[in-house]
């Protein structure tokens, strides 16, 4: 307990950064992932191929390598210099969006083809059909795997510690510098994560309950 009370500032600061990193990456990957899923079901072959290539590349690469790319290789391209925090958020977003894309796409596949036919018969365009009819139903059917992907993202943020972002994963470095009990310190990190995931689980439960009638 003394590890926690002695270093409460460190814990709060680090987890504050974790939550920020998670927040930006979660929003980013939900938006990008959904967009990619739309491309993957679009009637245009080039768009489908582009999205499929993206998903294959990002989903098959270890996250650490994506980080390495954004912190060491990307700066060499001299496009736009990124601080470690935004670079980490971009890396997490690009990586996680590939998974979100596949979850959303599997949701799209659960929507009966008649829903799309009815939309087209009423004169809705392809994008109107997706945004008003297909995607809302797709997302409703994939709430559990979607939340699981977000939970994985939350825990994946700890990789950023290896790339100069002072989030929860970096707590162990500071503790060992100060000669604190590392095992106890890490146990507290685990406890914090368990607590952080609870709201996500509750969100999943309430969404599932709310949408049980409507589909």
């Amino acid at each position: 307990m003394s590890v926690l009370t002695n270093n409460i500032d460190l814990y709060l600061r680090a987890f504050g950064t974790t939550i920020q990193l998670f927040f930006f990456s979660a929003i980013g990957s939900l938006v990008l992932g959904t967009f990619l899923a739309m491309l993957r079901v679009s009637p245009v072959p080039v768009l489908r191929a582009a999205a499929t290539t993206y998903v294959t590349l990002l989903r098959n690469t270890p996250l650490t390598l994506v980080f390495f790319f954004f912190l060491f290789a990307y700066p060499l391209l001299k496009i736009l210099q990124l601080e470690p925090f935004p670079a980490a958020a971009v890396a997490l977003t690009l990586y996680t969006s590939a998974f979100i894309c596949e979850v959303v796409r599997s949701g799209i596949n659960t929507v009966p083809v008649g829903q799309a036919e009815a939309s087209r018969a009423l004169g809705l365009t392809f994008s109107q059909m997706l945004s008003n009819v297909v995607l809302p139903q797709a997302v409703r059917s994939v709430v559990p795997p979607l939340v699981s992907t977000l939970i994985a993202l939350l825990k994946n943020t700890t990789i950023a510690a290896g790339f100069s972002v002072a989030e929860a994963g970096s707590i162990s470095y500071s503790l060992s510098e100060q000669g604190e009990d590392l095992l106890a310190g890490l146990a507290w990190v685990a406890v914090f994560f368990v607590v952080l995931v609870i709201p996500l689980t509750l969100l999943q439960r309430s969404l599932e309950k709310r949408w049980s009638v409507a589909r």
Partner: protein, 251 residues
């Protein structure tokens, strides 16, 4: 009423061919439906009648021939096709109500998104239509909470909300429990008597006799007979139609 010679027919199909792989599902189909006419398409299953219905708003693209709706040839996929579909109402065998939207939202969606009608106006119109098909009191429920017959009546209201020039019905009562068939047919009969141009693929002979101006009989992808209901049911010309009617009457 204008004569068919002056106004273009509401639906015109000429030399229409359609294949599903090696299967020739529509064979050189010629069909004209003048404005205001109610045409019932009959035929054994697999005769291509549903496919015929679905080609008219290009849910099934055709392989050759031409299809015109109100004098306009069907455009290929894109905004123009969407605009044409907005004028062609369609009712499906499996209702296809939007499962995540309430009944009134189902009816309002296309007028608001496609016709850009204001929400308040679309809601007013939707409630009127729901009143007309007898479901106004269920407006806030979701499709899954309604019976099949009620869902199909909502589907008709949803199509009517776009003020279509023509209505296509693809076996609208085939997925219904027997006791719910009549309530849907009643709505369709009223619509027919109000002068709506309708093309109805169905197995309901009673509806064909009562509401149809004209009966098309299809077999093996071909239009075999094209006559009035009285003629068709009392004196079918082809053997295939006689055979078909014989089977139905024994049941």
């Amino acid at each position: 009423m204008t004569s068919p010679a002056q106004a273009p027919p509401m639906i015109r199909m000429a030399g229409v061919d359609k294949f599903f792989g090696p299967l020739h599902v529509l064979k050189n189909v010629e069909l004209e439906v003048p404005k205001g006419q109610v045409v019932v398409v009959l035929g054994p299953s697999g005769s291509g009648k549903s496919t015929l219905c679905r080609t008219i708003n290009r849910l099934e693209p055709i392989d050759s021939g031409t299809i015109e709706v109100d004098g306009q040839p069907l455009p290929s996929e894109g905004k123009q096709l969407a605009r044409l579909r907005a004028d062609v109402g369609m009712v499906f065998q499996s209702f296809n109500l939007f499962a995540h939207k309430s009944i009134v939202d189902n009816v309002m969606l296309a007028p608001v998104k496609v016709r850009k009608t204001s929400t308040s106006e679309a809601r007013k119109k939707a409630m009127e239509l729901l009143e007309r098909v007898g479901i106004a009191n269920q407006a806030e429920k979701f499709p899954a909470q309604l019976s099949g017959g009620q869902q199909q009546r909502v589907a008709i209201a949803r199509a009517l909300a776009m003020n279509p020039k023509v209505m296509l019905f693809d076996e609208p009562t085939s997925a219904l429990d027997p006791e719910m068939v009549q309530e849907v047919l009643d709505v369709m009969t009223t619509l027919a008597s109000e002068g709506m141009t309708m093309l109805v693929v169905t197995h309901e002979m009673g509806f064909a006799r009562k509401a149809a101006d004209r009966v098309i009989f299809m077999a093996d992808g071909e239009v075999v007979e094209d006559s009035t209901p009285t003629e068709f049911f009392s004196a079918p010309k082809s053997n295939r139609a006689k055979d078909f009617l014989g089977k139905i009457l024994t049941h």
